[in-house]
């Protein structure tokens, strides 16, 4: 069922999928990644021994614990996905689990839970659900004061709190206008 791509045989990292403009991709030969083309719909479990790129629809379960799974921008998955690395560029409704890393690209729309040692979520990705994390505080990272990318961009803080106090304290609460 799956075709192989020779160009991807030498790498273990998931590659950006090739979009095919709505047509099924040409057959691939002699490589390490299978493709489910945009015109393909699979209902049932998917398992195997090679990386997988999904540009079509899958409903069921995807179990490729030792391999990379990529849901391409045209891909739509209603299934639990288990891979070594899982990259989402399309739509997923289900739980994602990876041994190494899960990446949600900016085009991803995911509803479900995520569990992986490393989770990368790009801005623009729409995600609803739970993310199981390692809990970085075990490594001594501070609760407050962790720098982020945006801070390095030099945006200036605009103001400080005007009033501090307990709720109902004089001055702390102001009436609002409807």
């Amino acid at each position: 069922m799956f075709k192989k791509d020779a160009s991807e045989a030498s790498t273990s990292q998931p590659r950006a999928p090739q979009t095919s403009g709505g047509r099924a991709p040409a057959p691939r030969r002699g490589g390490g990644q299978a493709t489910i083309g945009p015109s393909i719909t699979i209902k049932g479990d998917v398992s195997g021994d090679e990386d997988l790129l999904i540009q079509g629809r899958v409903e069921g379960k995807i179990k490729l614990a030792k391999h990379n799974v990529t849901i391409g921008p045209d891909g739509s998955v209603k299934a639990d996905v288990h891979g070594r690395t899982v990259v989402v560029e399309g739509q997923v409704e289900g739980d994602l689990r990876a041994k190494e890393q899960i990446i949600l690209r900016h085009t991803a729309r995911v509803e479900g839970s995520i569990a992986a040692p490393r989770v990368t979520l790009e801005d623009g990705a729409v995600f609803r659900g739970g993310i199981e994390m390692d809990g970085g505080a075990k490594d001594g990272k501070p609760l407050v004061g962790t720098p982020t990318k945006n801070e390095k961009q030099g945006n200036a803080e605009k103001d400080e709190p005007a009033v501090k106090g307990a709720a109902g304290e004089k001055g702390a609460g102001q009436s609002l206008q409807a």
Binding site: L104, S113, V119, L121, E122, D123, A125, V126, F127, R128, G129, G130, I131, E132, M133, D134, G135, G136, A137, K138, K141, P142, L143, V144, G145, T146, P147, T148, K149, N150, E151, N155, A156, E157, K158, D159, E160, P161, A162, V163, K164, G165, A166, A167, G168, E169, A172, G173, Q174, S175, L176, Q177, A178
Partner: protein
């Protein structure tokens, strides 16, 4: 002799497209409420966080530095074409507790940013009740509530900057009136929580930090 390109230049006028109107601007403000709320959560890597807002890359990165679990609810539609009617997102809000796996229903921190402004009082009350039931006694709740005359028609996206500041990222310039939620009403609304701190910021936003009561009677 008239050169052809010159003649064409004389007759063809190239109209430049009108400049696009500037998008809504991002504002960065200090967040003493967030700073205070973070002080009250466990720092041993066991912390579970409930975020009623949308997924934001920097927030996930920051929260992952101290939490073991993050539940993102993304309660209210944002962006162009979003249904901006009051309570538009409540359908999703009312069902989200069922999406939280049973063994994860013990949150230490709830981020309720810009949600209560966009719900009817009844909806907001039901939401807070659901949040209280998902939080453990002593859990912190950090709420952001507009106290100006107007607010964006759809909630802002908030980006955590280092745990003490927030970037307010509006998706529209359109504004609407703000429902009347004075501190006394918020205190009443946050049933199951006890307000420990409130901060009225200069730009007209009120931050509340509340603690889940030990005893909480379900209605």
């Amino acid at each position: 002799m008239k050169l052809p390109w010159r003649s064409r230049a004389e007759t063809v006028s190239i109209e430049e497209p009108p400049p696009e109107p500037p998008g809504p601007s991002v504002e960065i403000h200090g967040s003493p409420g967030l700073e205070e709320a973070l002080r009250g959560v466990p720092d041993d890597g066991s912390c579970k966080v409930l975020d009623l807002g949308p997924s934001v890359a920097d927030n996930v990165e920051f929260i992952s530095s101290f939490a073991s679990y993050l539940q993102i609810v993304d309660a209210i539609e944002r962006g162009p074409g979003a249904d901006v009617a009051e309570g538009a997102g409540f359908g999703r809000l009312s069902t989200f507790p069922h999406l939280v796996k049973r063994h994860q229903r013990s949150f230490h921190l709830a981020l309720v940013w810009d949600v209560l402004n966009y719900l009817s009082p009844e909806q907001a009350e039901r939401l807070v009740r659901a949040v209280a039931e998902l939080c453990i006694p002593g859990a912190r709740l950090h709420a952001i509530i507009y106290s100006t005359d107007t607010m964006p028609v759809v909630p802002n996206r908030y980006r955590i900057l280092g745990g003490s500041r927030l970037a307010y990222e509006p998706s529209t310039r359109d504004i609407r009136g703000v429902p009347n939620l004075p501190p006394s009403a918020v205190e009443k609304l946050l049933k199951g929580f006890r307000i420990e701190h409130s901060f009225l910021l200069q730009h007209g936003v009120h931050e509340y930090v509340a603690t889940r009561k030990r005893w909480y009677v379900k209605n």
